[in-house]
Symmetry: C2
Subunit: 223 residues, 2 copies
DNA sequence: CTCAATTTAATTGTATACAAAAAATGTGTG
DNA sequence: CACACATTTTTTGTATACAATTAAATTGAG
């Protein structure tokens, strides 16, 4: 795995926590490369919105509730549109890809150690496959390109991290609903179903944030 | 002006034409800096979609008619949404900024030498000011961030380059229509007016491309 | 002891050298 | 003359040194 993927994944899974400062030298040491390739990775991750530039160096971006609302509003808009377009323009191959992605999701849905990070990552990736199959099926390269930048993987990871078995099943079911709408060329239905599906993920992240701040209050961590 | 702005503007105004190959060494010589800062600029411009990576080096991206349709569909979706949100959440300051931008546009609209590149750039910037004022007024940082990446400046430049006086006036008028809707907190009206306004720009670019290929046909340049 | 000024350390920005990879050129053979 | 193969040149990727900038620590005055 190259430097970009390694650092990105560390941010996604929270090994580098929000607010943590990342210096070029530190990362260069961590990955045993010089600062030159690290610099490029940092610039890249900044443009993806995963890092916030400081006057000196970068910190891992943290997302407020308002950030999450805004990001997910955007996702519903763009991915909803993509689902609608996919319903209009999908090819048989596109449909096959979506079905395949859902099969994969079913396989990895309940694994031995569902708390393990690598298990969560597998589920996240299967989920991504389905969504990306729809983006491809929209047959709009630019839409695809920009959606990939709107989707903030650390948040997606979080929502799946906190999903229990029932919620995973419900997520798969909504995938099936979206898929059916696209099969039936029902554009508006596909858009709305995707809209709702994404808001479910948003609500999970928001709810978890609430629970966290509740606990903080109990423990008197109100600073 | 720094390396990033210099190179970006050269692409926008077409000094570096679509398809032209840009090597690090060439640009380093051109701007009298070393390759290091140039590399970062190239990566940045690639992520903005202005450059296409080759196996070795980059070429200036060229946009097909299909690209243009897709890009402008995205713009209508996002900027339309932004206009709608602006109608709901705008503050008095926001409105002031929009009015100010339109005043500026009126000032630079008919200048001495309207064919001159710097004149066109002034109009493009005034136009940008109005649009950005709306993005700010939507009070959604993430929406703003992503719209800035969806708007492809070389295409905006082109559409204004080919606008005649009447079309510039019409463009200002549609700004006024959008502004009124936002003043009246008429969200849906603002969204639709913005939608239509952006499609006008798209059509100009597409029409000009048509005229170009017509001329090519006449001159027997069908290769 | 507190705060400002100055010094010191940490960190990024840029240039440059060299290694690695790809593209272009040249050469010989059928 | 076309084409495969070897050679040269171009161009990018990485490491590293040093300059410029910012943050941290220290010192001294009030």
């Amino acid at each position: 795995m190259d430097a970009y993927q390694t650092i990105k994944e560390s941010i996604i899974i929270g090994k580098y926590r929000p607010g943590m400062r990342l210096t070029e030298e530190f990362l260069a040491g961590e990955l045993n490369v010089s600062r030159t390739p690290i610099r490029e990775v940092l610039k890249q991750l900044e443009s993806e919105g995963l890092l916030t530039p400081l006057r000196r160096g970068m910190i891992v971006r943290s997302f407020s509730k308002e950030d999450i609302r805004q990001i997910y509003d955007l996702r519903t808009l763009l991915e909803g549109y993509a689902a609608g377009q996919a319903a209009l323009f999908r090819t048989p191959t596109d449909l096959q890809q979506m079905r395949e992605a859902n099969r994969l999701y079913e396989q990895v849905m309940d694994q031995k150690d569902p708390e393990e990070i690598s298990s969560i990552l597998k589920i996240v990736r299967a989920n991504q496959h389905f969504h990306e199959a729809i983006h491809v099926a929209s047959h709009n390269e630019h839409l695809r390109f920009h959606i990939s930048k709107v989707v903030v993987l650390p948040l997606v990871f979080q929502s799946f991290y906190w999903y229990d078995r029932l919620e995973r099943i419900r997520s798969l079911e909504s995938h099936q609903t979206i898929l059916e709408a696209i099969e039936n060329r029902d554009s508006e239905r596909a858009r709305i179903a995707m809209h709702e599906h994404i808001y479910q993920g948003r609500d999970k992240v928001l709810k978890h944030l609430d629970e966290l701040s509740m606990e903080d209050l109990k423990e008197g961590k109100n600073d």
